[in-house]
């Protein structure tokens, strides 16, 4: 197990190098001008001399490889540079926001896994039954619905028509303090939307896995021994049916990140979404590279966790595989 973790950590190094260099290369090739983005509307009246000075101060006219190397070497010492668009150190900019994004994504993920497993088991119990048909067709429909659209729909229904939930923000607009109760009520809609957008994959995987397991020998054996249906379903079928789901958990992380970006935009959730979009369109190299590196780490970790869980759940799978 330790060897698996160690090997993955080693593997992560070249991946991170390639990904961050890729970000610098793509950003440098983009038609966006970081100086224009930095200056904003003031740039529309600034003199050329002023803009040239800005370009020199921001260091954006230096060669791509040099900029990447500087960023990389100072990042290794814990200095991620200064974000040009947010006018603050990258570490501060990310530190202020990442917690809220993690809270949103983690809540949604847990809800999606629990609800997905429950619905999947119910559907698998009687394949072809009305519950199965309802759950599967709902899952296929949701699979096609973009989170952005789901979000707008949720705001329209719960905030505007029913008036039961706040439509956006982290806390009530008028309040200046962040309390757990307020955050909880403001979290409901965005987390629910994000969870629902992730739900179909879990439902379908669990349904398939449990359905297959119900036809396997161990389950038929258990039934033959006269064990209660509940024990058979949850103790035997679910256990082996959950295995593909564990792999799925890892592979859903990238989708979860992009889904969270869209949901944060709809609900004015103060996570890293706005910063990511801004970093990309204003060619804010240090912030963009740090955010991409972070997302890459999240995906690699997700895969590692999935493999570890898989190994723990099924002793036949070795950690060296």
């Amino acid at each position: 197990m330790a060897r698996l973790v160690g090997r993955r950590a080693l593997f992560a190094v070249p991946v991170l190098l390639v990904v961050t260099f890729g970000v610098f290369a793509v950003a440098a090739a983009s038609p966006f001008d970081p100086v224009k983005a930095y200056a904003g509307t003031a740039g529309l009246t600034a003199s050329q001399e002023n803009l040239d000075q800005l370009r020199a101060n921001l260091g954006v006219d230096r060669p791509l490889a040099a900029r990447w190397w500087d960023w990389l070497t100072s990042a290794l010492t814990g200095d991620f540079g200064d974000s040009s668009t947010l006018r603050q150190p990258v570490a501060d900019a990310i530190g202020e926001r990442i917690g809220w994004s993690v809270l949103l994504a983690a809540t949604a993920f847990v809800v999606a896994i629990l609800l997905g497993t429950a619905l999947g088991v119910l559907a698998a119990r009687r394949p072809g039954g009305w519950l199965d048909r309802a759950v599967t067709s709902l899952a296929y429909t949701l699979e096609a619905a973009p989170p952005f659209w789901l979000g707008l729909l949720a705001v329209w229904l719960f905030a505007l028509k029913l008036g039961v939930l706040p439509s956006g923000g982290l806390t009530d607009t008028a309040s200046s303090t962040v309390t757990a109760g307020q955050v909880a009520s403001h979290l409901v809609l965005p987390a629910a939307v994000l969870a629902i957008s992730q739900l179909p994959w879990f439902v379908l995987y669990v349904r398939q896995g449990v359905g297959d397991a119900l036809g396997d020998d161990p389950v038929r054996g258990a039934r033959a021994r006269g064990l209660a249906e509940r024990t058979v379903l949850l103790g035997h079928a679910l256990r082996s049916g959950m295995l593909p789901v564990l792999t799925l958990i890892g592979s859903r992380v990238p989708e979860l990140i992009t889904g969270a970006l869209l949901v944060e935009t709809v609900f004015s959730w103060p996570g890293i979404a706005a910063a990511t979009v801004q970093a990309a369109t204003s060619v804010d190299f240090p912030l963009l590279a740090a955010l991409t590196a972070l997302a890459t780490v999240a995906v690699l970790l997700g895969n590692l966790v999935a493999d570890l869980l898989y190994g723990l759940a099924d002793p036949r799978v070795g950690f060296d595989g």
């Binding site: 038609p31 001008d33 009246t45 002023n50 006018r87 150190p89 905030a159 039961v164 439509s167 009520s185």
Partner: protein, 529 residues
């Protein structure tokens, strides 16, 4: 995973669902602020920084800070951190400010002349990433004569200089001790203003608390929140849901509040213009007859009515028709027949498809607008449709500034701008021939020696009558040889709850800064009991 742990997980999930449902039930309707001493407004724009050293609040009125001078409701200058208006000497090259005594920053430290010198010197420093420093181009040096006197020495006589000294003053004892471009001062500012920043939750809101020791008296509205909601529809929704007391809205959404008994609608007059640049580098747009024909051949009234829903006015130059600087008699009446006659007389004859031709050149040119900007798109399409009626083909195209900028010397652009403080600010950068192609200045590469001369006279002279005469000359020249087709000046619309009484708005610039809107003087609001 055993059955027992699955049951356990189920129980946890149920408990979580109940907890979520319970918190959901407690949420409804407690979002609005009924307290009369607090106000929540929705704005569409978030500043990148709150540091005046990087350009925040440069046009005055920043809530957290004060400038040496400030504007009243009529945009007249009045003293703020200065005790009186400046003394101008040395033919307009020396400005002396006496400072108000006993003013303190909100951290309790006293304000003095050295903070003023620090602020201006830092902005002018090459290492400071301030994109607006060109505006202080006239300054040669700033000097603290004593603790209460500051003297500005200018490179050349600059009549509107006092207008530039509305920019906020930063405390040297805080901002001087950190990196000016990225230090904590850019997000946690300290100033002398009527409000203190409590928290800036980026992407969500800015919350302010009244400064009880404000030199101008403690504000009645104790808590002030600016919620940042970029989407127009979501802002209107949250206004409806009672989460906001006021908001800026586009004309089509503001309309429905006119009949709302609980809310007032305010239309702020502006200098915010939309204009088509007619670059001299293009053989069609560079032709004076084409320019004059377009000037009379576009129906500005129709644009105001259909694009702005009547919330704006026709524009004939950067100076709005209701400004005292506007030259009466330079209005161009919409007259398509006259426009056609100008072209006929000049030898632009209708060719195939009705597009006019002269010496083998077709009367057509591209017109760019910033992609995603609906208002500019509507203006561009209306312009093209009017031009087509007089036989000029305008090909409307959209792009980002990166695409548009290299094409500016030859292609027309649907641009916007406007600063109300002084007529010099817009006209000098739009029309001065030496600034052609300098960044976004003089985008049309306009070159008219009479205008150049008048621009210099107007900025150097401290005499109001002389300046007025010079600006009259410029506006009359623009009738004879328009380098731009000015289309409209756009009103900015706001909706605010009536509990705050009748409010006022200032004449607003092109930018939707934080200080725009009826809350420009929130520190003076007297909420109804």
């Amino acid at each position: 995973m055993r059955a027992r742990s699955i049951r356990g997980a189920g129980a946890t999930a149920t408990a979580a669902a109940i907890a979520v449902a319970a918190s959901a039930c407690s949420a409804p309707g407690d979002g609005g602020s009924d307290a009369k001493d607090s106000a929540v407004v929705g704005i569409a724009y978030e500043p990148e920084t709150l540091s005046p050293l990087l350009g925040y609040g440069k046009d005055g009125n920043s809530k957290i800070f004060d400038g040496l001078l400030t504007h009243d409701a009529d945009m007249k200058l009045k003293p703020a951190l200065a005790a009186e208006l400046p003394e101008v000497a040395d033919d307009g090259k020396t400005y002396t400010y006496k400072l108000r005594k006993g003013v303190k920053f909100s951290d309790g430290k006293p304000f003095s002349a050295k903070d003023v010198v620090f602020t201006y010197e830092t902005i002018l420093d090459k290492k400071t990433n301030n994109a607006s420093k060109t505006e202080l181009d006239a300054v040669r040096s700033v000097e603290a004569k004593d603790a209460d006197t500051v003297v500005f020495h200018l490179k050349y006589p600059y009549a509107p200089f006092a207008e530039r000294t509305v920019l906020p003053i930063a405390p040297e004892h805080v901002a001087g001790k950190q990196d000016v471009n990225t230090g904590t001062f850019t997000t946690k500012p300290v100033g002398t203003g009527p409000y203190k920043l409590v928290k800036w939750s980026k992407g969500e809101k800015l919350t302010f608390k009244a400064n009880p020791d404000y030199w101008g008296g403690a504000p009645k509205v104790k808590n002030f929140t600016m919620a940042i909601i970029k989407d127009d529809d979501i802002r209107a929704t949250r206004l409806d849901a009672g989460e906001l007391d006021g908001a800026i809205l586009p004309p089509n959404l503001a309309k429905k509040y006119k009949s709302d008994d609980a809310k007032n609608t305010y239309a702020a007059k502006t200098f915010d213009y939309r204009v088509v640049t007619l670059p001299t580098g293009n053989e069609v747009t560079g032709d004076t007859d084409i320019r004059r024909a377009l000037d009379t051949g576009v129906n500005r009234k129709a644009m105001v009515d259909s694009i702005l829903y009547g919330e704006g006015k026709e524009a004939y130059g950067p100076v709005p028709t209701d400004s005292p600087w506007f030259t009466k008699g330079t209005e161009r009446k919409f007259d398509a027949d006259k426009a056609k006659k100008i072209l006929d007389d000049a030898g632009w004859k209708p060719g195939k498809d009705g597009i006019r031709e002269k010496d083998g050149v077709q009367a057509k040119f591209p017109l760019w607008y910033l992609s995603g900007d609906k208002l500019r798109q509507d203006h561009a399409l209306a312009y093209a449709s009017d031009a087509k009626k007089i036989g000029v083909k305008v090909e409307v195209q959209s792009g980002t500034w990166e695409v548009i900028e290299p094409r500016m010397p030859k292609d027309a652009v649907l641009a916007g701008g406007g600063s109300p403080a002084d007529p010099d600010f817009d006209q000098y950068t739009l029309l001065k021939s030496s600034l052609a192609g300098d960044g976004f200045n003089n985008m049309a590469h306009y070159d008219n020696p009479k205008v150049d001369k008048a621009l210099e006279e107007a900025r150097k002279s401290g005499d109001h009558a002389k300046r007025q005469a010079a600006y009259d000359t410029i506006q009359r020249e623009l009738v004879k040889n328009p380098g731009y087709t000015f289309l409209t000046h756009i009103d900015h619309l706001y909706v605010v709850d009536k509990k705050f009484g009748d409010l006022t708005t200032q004449v607003e610039p092109h930018d939707h800064g934080l200080a725009s809107g009826p809350w420009w003087n929130v520190e003076d609001w007297q909420p109804k009991k």
